[in-house]
């Protein structure tokens, strides 16, 4: 047995989780029948680092060139943190000084992304729709996406999970979940008043749902969040987002007032459409994030 392992080698092993070489013992969890896990090494003939392929040489040269060009550009750019750089101009002035009056949002960033530059944000929400649709296209179970072995493992796990739920996880979830959900709702509803908004709040809600699903199993979630609910919620939120924004775009371009009250700045029910849009975005993001999780782990929602 080789006990003379260098310190860095051992550190590296420890970082990589190879405890065997540090504490040599028989690993009782050895399960030889499963395939070797894919580590980062290629099973293709491994070339020596000195003899790079032409592709690698080209890639490294291109990247180094790009980095040098960009560093030189940075050297030529205005300094960091000074007030008189070109980006601080009349646009910023109006966003900050008139933003409260024109959009009703105390958080200037929220006012900017949901009112001044709302078309970008509509595009961004469509990206989420496209992402969840394409993930479902790839991973939903159907006749072209079937792996009997994989299904067997998933089935076993489902049975196993239903029989012996992790008590610690469940108790922690019971304690944490209300707080997480409340925080997510708070972040969404205060999007126009404080940092955050639809995207971050939606991601928090989605993470809460995922935690619930890991703690109590998918079937518990499916009782109130089935494929039908998922589809209805996402589509309704996205459609109302799209329609509300189309209404505001078309009227705005034709110089007509939208007749949406902006409310008292700083109050929770204020800033007109931004409040509603934040809720829609929050719903879309929460559903999408949970949808990703469900489709990735089981191929269904």
């Amino acid at each position: 047995m080789n006990t003379e392992i260098g310190f860095f080698k051992r550190l590296n092993d420890w970082v990589n989780g190879d405890e065997d070489r540090i504490f040599p013992s028989k690993n009782e969890y050895d399960s030889p029948e499963l395939p070797e896990p894919p580590v980062a090494k290629s099973s293709l003939p491994n070339k020596d680092i000195l003899f790079l392929s032409s592709y690698q040489v080209i890639a490294i040269t291109v990247v180094l060139g790009l980095v040098f060009v960009l560093l030189y550009t940075v050297y030529k750019l205005p300094l960091f943190g000074v007030a008189d750089n070109p980006a601080v101009n009349e646009v910023v002035e109006r966003y900050v000084e008139k933003g409260l009056e024109e959009t009703g949002a105390v958080n200037v960033v929220a006012g900017m992304i949901l009112d001044y530059r709302a078309f970008d944000t509509l595009g961004e929400s469509s990206v989420l729709l496209l992402a969840i649709t394409s993930v479902m296209m790839l991973l939903l179970r159907d006749e072209k996406n079937i792996d009997p072995e994989e299904d067997l493992i998933t089935e076993h796990e489902a049975v196993f999970e239903d029989q012996s739920r992790d008590v610690i996880l469940q108790n922690v979830t019971t304690i944490l979940l209300p707080a997480i959900m409340l925080y997510g709702i708070y972040v969404i509803l205060n999007g126009h008043l404080s940092p955050g908004g639809g995207f971050s709040g939606g991601a928090i809600l989605g993470a809460g749902l995922i935690l619930y699903a890991t703690g109590f199993g998918h079937n518990r979630v499916r009782k109130f969040f089935s494929m039908k609910t998922f589809r209805a919620l996402t589509t309704t939120a996205l459609l109302s987002y799209g329609l509300l924004k189309s209404y505001s775009f078309l009227l705005g371009a034709n110089h007509l007032p939208t007749h949406i009250p902006l409310g008292i700045p700083g109050a929770i029910f204020s800033s007109g459409l931004i409040f509603v849009l934040d809720i829609c975005v929050g719903l879309i993001v929460a559903c999408t994030m949970y949808g990703f999780y469900a489709v990735f782990s089981r191929g269904e929602i």
């Binding site: 290629s42 690698q56 790009l66 910023v92 966003y95 992402a131 792996d147 404080s194 995207f199 993001v285």
Partner: protein
């Protein structure tokens, strides 16, 4: 001395460029698909770091109107934050799509090595 103080002053931009290069190179060279995805994320967040650092102005505070002060001399530039927010959502969507492709390819070829997969795909009949 002057160079060092300039380097320190432009710390975020220089870090962002170097991280961008790192991510770009790994996106090109990493064979493992998971690492390619990590490289893509590193590359994107480096660009976002660059953009966000452009909005910062020394001594000013986050653009959330406090105490009714409506003076643009008090707050930092809000535009980069808004653009980065859009960018983050796009990048997480692309990450999810990329991961889904990885899962499917693993299901077919039982490997996540890009070069091996490409060899196998090229051999595949129509």
């Amino acid at each position: 001395m002057n160079i060092i103080s300039e380097l320190i002053n432009d710390r975020f931009m220089i870090a962002a460029v170097l991280l961008f290069g790192l991510g770009f190179m790994n996106l090109l060279l990493q064979k493992n698909l998971i690492k390619k995805i990590i490289a893509f994320n590193v590359m994107d967040s480096a660009i976002f770091l660059f953009l966000a650092s452009q909005g910062y102005i020394n001594g000013r505070i986050a653009p959330i109107i406090t105490n009714g002060i409506l003076d643009s001399e008090v707050y930092i530039n809000p535009i980069p934050s808004g653009l980065v927010l859009t960018g983050i959502v796009v990048s997480v969507s692309v990450t999810a799509f990329f991961l889904a492709l990885t899962v499917r390819l693993y299901g077919i070829y039982k490997t996540v090595d890009f070069d091996e997969i490409m060899l196998l795909v090229d051999k595949e009949a129509e």
